[in-house]
Symmetry: C2
Subunit: 378 residues, 2 copies
């Protein structure tokens, strides 16, 4: 049943847009695309149990190497037999390089950057960035950690995810063109080193390149072309994706045509409902985001009729389910009134029940997109 | 299958002690005794889903009228069709009167009382205590609420639990004998008023009296005798149970013989492992406590070999389950190492997985006690 190695099967190309339906085959099973990838930073979707999300049919989970490196450490995960065994997940996993978090510490995130109008917000834990890699201090025990293309890949080998990601530099949005080009060149060198390290012992893992270039479309083209010439198994669109949805769509729209159509692509860190709607027709195969689970924890539930803010007083006496016909265990068992109450009473169960619903919604939403694409309606 | 009305079936009386095995029949099914009663204050065991605890076989759940009165309000629960429907629980529920929390606000809890050496710790939200009842302010909206024997029972009728409890006064541990006797007399009048209100419309609910008297053994006897003469369906031992386990055991040991053996009894708010071990042989049928779930949330897991503090570094690389042979879904699916990691990473899933294990442990523990009693080994 399980294919011996990673490959992408293109099932249908929409006649209406660049949207496509496919199947990514991995050692831990199939990912039907377009697909939503839930984020389980520490090897757990917040407030959910991995066996439950397996049963719900969540096909790909995104774990963060930065976090797992610091806690519990990738050697521990390796000793357990790899991440799938350690966290007891049957379905595919993707890990990132750890770079995103370290460079967020160095430069501040794009969001905080925009708020502070370009003032860097460094917290001092990043000690050095040079050609070798990046040196930072563990927030857990103060230990000095050197993250290089080679050490990131070795960490990801210990974790053993189905899809891994090369180390890249995450330049902030406000970088000047010259600095951005310098950073891009270094990122390409780092990705090549990551790939070389990976290919010395592939272990049935696939590696996606990360296409950079910020919002500079010519750099995006350059990055896509350069990385397409290397034997990566797929392509992620990363780096700064702009300060609003318009810039995001422009970058994605411009970048996808330069990626090899026979390989899967991924949009890094983007998975809100509006972005998915706009980027599926542009040909994106997978989207990872913590938004649906985070929204759930804030009482925002997704339905076909729009978002439901479950803490609103009007739901206190609404004994219907969140969404009639939703097959999730929350809708099967509980009412909006009960969820409203659990949130108001600050019961931790509220987070679990809401998260189950939103993850189930995302799974159904993507199945609907696939259905629509097959019928050339998207 | 479901018996039409509450009754107690005594199956076996140990020849070795006062321990006994029985069955409490309720409109929502059977409670095998001795039994552990988990506390779901707001209609939810912290971090657990009610359908899951139904499946685990938790036979009785304790909900707090005080909390449900303030959020979501018992009228809402009534509109939903009662607590079982509102929270989607198939098995029996017991509710208290609300008095315990209000008097804790008035006098401070026994624990805080002992720490502050008898200085009352009132927070000002209790406005008046008189023969009618107690008036307090809602912490939610500042509304003035009058809790009387009648209003408590009407609230509990709205909730519709299988077993309900009359309003009592909770005198603090340090009360002088004269004040204690005065309080006891009032409690008896309140319990009688509660019973009268209940009996005007029983709605298939059972009512347990609450035996008071603090650590004064003659008052305990007086209370047990007086309440036994009234048509209560069962008897709870409440009030101040002393400042240590020795006093608790003395009170229980002295009180149980004055209760009608053909009716079930309950020990209010006590359910730690040591107290259960000491009080089962004294003839206690049911124990409610939030301790097992609270301990779980602090990373303390119960096993036959003793308590496991799962956050200890030595468990970081321990890939065995918490307890070999434990049939709970946590032990079935996850290792100590993974739980250690989830706790250290502050993942909310840790609370759920740990709570599942401890509740499952309590269910198995009580089954073992029943087995031992049947064989006259306890």
């Amino acid at each position: 049943m399980i294919k011996p190695y990673f490959h992408f099967e293109l099932l249908h190309q929409s006649s209406k847009s660049r949207a496509r339906v496919g199947r990514i085959h991995t050692p831990h099973g199939i990912i039907d695309t377009p697909s939503f990838v839930a984020v389980g930073t520490n090897g757990s979707l917040k407030a959910l149990s991995n066996v439950d999300i397996d049963k719900m049919g969540l096909q790909l989970m995104f774990c963060n190497t930065y976090h797992l490196l610091l806690q519990p450490g990738t050697e521990t995960v390796k000793k357990a037999g790899g991440l799938h065994t350690y966290i007891n997940r049957k379905n595919p996993i993707i890990t990132d390089s750890g770079g995103f978090q370290v460079f967020s510490l160095a430069y501040g995130g794009v969001a905080s950057e925009l708020k502070s109008a370009g003032n860097k917000k460094a917290d001092g834990s990043v000690l050095k960035i040079n050609e070798e890699g990046v040196t930072f201090r563990s927030y857990r025990d103060g230990a000095k950690i050197v993250l290089t293309p080679e050490s990131s890949i070795l960490a990801q080998k210990n974790l053993g995810a189905d899809i891994i990601i090369p180390l890249d530099e995450l330049p902030p949005y406000h970088f000047d063109p010259k600095s951005l080009k310098k950073s891009l060149d270094r990122t390409h060198r780092w990705e090549k080193r990551s790939l070389d390290t990976h290919l010395t012992d592939p272990k049935q893992q696939a590696m996606y390149a990360v296409v950079h270039g910020g919002v500079d479309l010519s750099l995006r083209k350059l990055s896509a072309n350069l990385l397409s010439d290397l034997p990566f198994d797929g392509f992620a669109i990363g780096g700064s994706l702009g300060k609003n949805k318009q810039e995001l769509v422009e970058v994605v729209n411009h970048t996808v045509p330069f990626l090899p159509p026979e390989k899967p692509n991924h949009l890094l860190g983007i998975g809100d409902l509006e972005s998915i709607e706009q980027c599926v027709p542009l040909g994106i195969d997978t989207f990872d985001s913590s938004y649906p689970t985070k929204a759930a924890r804030h009482g925002v539930l997704f339905t076909e009729q729009g978002k439901v803010k479950i803490t609103k007083t009007s739901y206190a006496n609404d004994f219907d389910t969140i969404e009639p016909g939703c097959p999730c265990s929350t809708c099967e068992n509980y009412s909006k009134a009960y969820l409203n109450h659990l949130f108001k009473a600050h019961e931790p169960t509220a987070l679990t029940l809401a998260s189950i619903h939103n993850v189930a919604y995302m799974i159904r939403l993507m199945a609907k997109y696939r259905e629509m694409i097959l019928r050339n309606l998207v």
